[in-house]
Symmetry: C2
Subunit: 438 residues, 2 copies
Amino acid sequence: MPHLLSTTAADFETRFSAFLGLKREVSEDVDATVRAIIDDVRQNGDEALARLTASFDRLDFADTPMRVGAGEVAAATDRIDAGTRAALELARDRIRAHHERQLPADDAYTDALGVTLGSRWTAVESVGLYVPGGTAAYPSSVLMNAVPAVVAGVARIVMVVPAPGGVLNPLVLAAADLAGVTEIYRIGGAQAVAALAYGTETIQPVAKIVGPGNAYVAAAKRRVFGTVGIDMIAGPSEVLVVADGANDPDWIAADLLAQAEHDEAAQSILITDDESLGEAVAGAVERQLKTLPRADTAAASWRDFGGIVTVGDIHSDATVALIDRIAAEHLELACDEADALARRVSNAGAIFIGRHTPEVIGDYVGGSNHVLPTARSARFSSGLSVMDFVKRTSILKLGPEQLRALGPAAIALAEAEGLGAHARSVSIRMNQGGPDGR
Amino acid sequence: MPHLLSTTAADFETRFSAFLGLKREVSEDVDATVRAIIDDVRQNGDEALARLTASFDRLDFADTPMRVGAGEVAAATDRIDAGTRAALELARDRIRAHHERQLPADDAYTDALGVTLGSRWTAVESVGLYVPGGTAAYPSSVLMNAVPAVVAGVARIVMVVPAPGGVLNPLVLAAADLAGVTEIYRIGGAQAVAALAYGTETIQPVAKIVGPGNAYVAAAKRRVFGTVGIDMIAGPSEVLVVADGANDPDWIAADLLAQAEHDEAAQSILITDDESLGEAVAGAVERQLKTLPRADTAAASWRDFGGIVTVGDIHSDATVALIDRIAAEHLELACDEADALARRVSNAGAIFIGRHTPEVIGDYVGGSNHVLPTARSARFSSGLSVMDFVKRTSILKLGPEQLRALGPAAIALAEAEGLGAHARSVSIRMNQGGPDGR
């Protein structure tokens, strides 16, 4: 059974806080191991990559080159069936079209004093894309990470993906090819992150690393942060479905299970103002679990972290406040006047409006990005976008007249802060005096 | 003597790489201490804050309240002289005017299939602003951190500032008042960061923490990242001045010293195509050091980390490549055709164009933000802006027709990824079939 809460219960606040605070990730302390691996790659480069890949992935670069060749990528793309390929191309095109709207505009203007100010955006020069191996290797995630980088104008996109026993998912190679990835290497784990951050004889370092990974990859990204940029550290996936009584319980159950099947630590929450719908959905979940390939994972997630919250009115300010506290990665509004409710929500990675917008559409072909803030971080962060692959440079330009106008205030503040050289760097230009400018 | 390099030297690449790689910060390992302090504050709240503040800051909250009262703030604002106050107000107004141009626009559109997509921006609900105590307490930094938050629409801005022995810098209180800070507490160090992230009986938690601090503050911010958002971890300040022969060596020397006086770990670099200017600047630095209040700090920084790089032509592609490799926090272009050169640079936190735009103007009254990426992170990150205080929510809305159009591709990709519940969540809405939607 999932957690059952009702706002009318006397202990609701206590139980809801406890539910929000549920620890869903066992934070393995892998930091010492990761540090050693990173140092090894920094010191020994390709040799370390070969040695670590042989031991972790049972793959010998003497037999299989570290870099995936163009022919191999093309062969993989040819091997996938036409339907899947067409679906990948549709997804790519829709992601591209949506993300092209995110390209920031430069700004340049001259103010009343004649000071020229501006903000100029440029693409990050090179990006590393981490792709997990095994079952978590999702071609859709390759598109969601690589396409925004291509749209931003990133010249070099380097994908790393572990190939345990030499096996690569052809769909992942195909997605990389369709997205515009420029280099692919058969490496993974902390050693791949280290290679991207510091470079080796074969791999040139990148400026930023994005993409999901296990605890070792996450720890490695945290450790190289500063040397390179990193994206958010993604946690297990979540969905919050807000549903009134006028829903088919099976539709809602399917949406809750679509998150739950990702990971035993995933979280699916239903908020409803119709207690009987809640009960019907709970029943539908149990029925649908019987015919689900990943039933064990989904059942564990629903049992341990699933929740059904009964509220008085899903359109009340109190419910909006609950929605904002949960700050879900995915928020589905399966109710009447869903648009109006959506406008009142502040904290959500993505909002899926209406009964015919299952979150899954956003995972694949909606066009918006499926890399979204988890674990309540939608309170302060946004999903992946073109903005993650560009950076802004401020521009300032004064002439002698503007310097005379602003100089005295700058000197006053510099002196108030006890920074004499700051004051001098301005004053020396105002009164072309002797060496010390006074 | 600073580091002297010339692109014509045979060993230039080796020496330049070593110069770029100079370790300017001794990374204290304070992590264990910081972890204990954070746990203490999480468990003991206000009592821990009082105990830690008594021991670290020699301040007893029995005598002086933890929260700074409105009367105390008003008194501090009244106490500062009219000139400094006017300068702070000019700085605030110019920062506000510039940052108002950074407010992102929402986007909403319907594509050819009739799918509605959008991006909606909302302000972070609450922000904590860390302000260091002692000499590093700069009122200008309070403005640079708080004003963008106010412009973004952040409702609650909580400033924490240690008051060693009870002493607070009235200019910092005045700047907070002028900027629109809503709460101020007399706490600092890792305990202040913990209080902002997790809350105590007195302090409500915030969603994001910004502002500079020492090694303990930086380690605490890294540790609470995820629970709350944080800004960049700022390193020692840097300036790169690109100057041709037509400059007054004293002007350039003053600019280099303005960075050097911040911190012994600050870095000032001159790139010039006129060897004699380089020598003249080196001489001017030595002369100006004699009359500088913070001469010891500036001299140490210039000696250990300062550099003069002589190049063939400052407008060559090779020089632009050098500028991009340095990726300086502050880039001054004191040369002819500075605008054209600025347009060719990709990596810089801020560019100051022309001989009459000393970087110091940007520290105070230019209007652009002085919180900028350090330690070469301009390769992948931007200075502080309104964007750091807002977050984006993606919006997606389909009707039955759009679901039928996009559904098959979503189902194909879900099945390719082995996610049966994903496929079902779409298919069940397409053919209103039985419980499992097939």
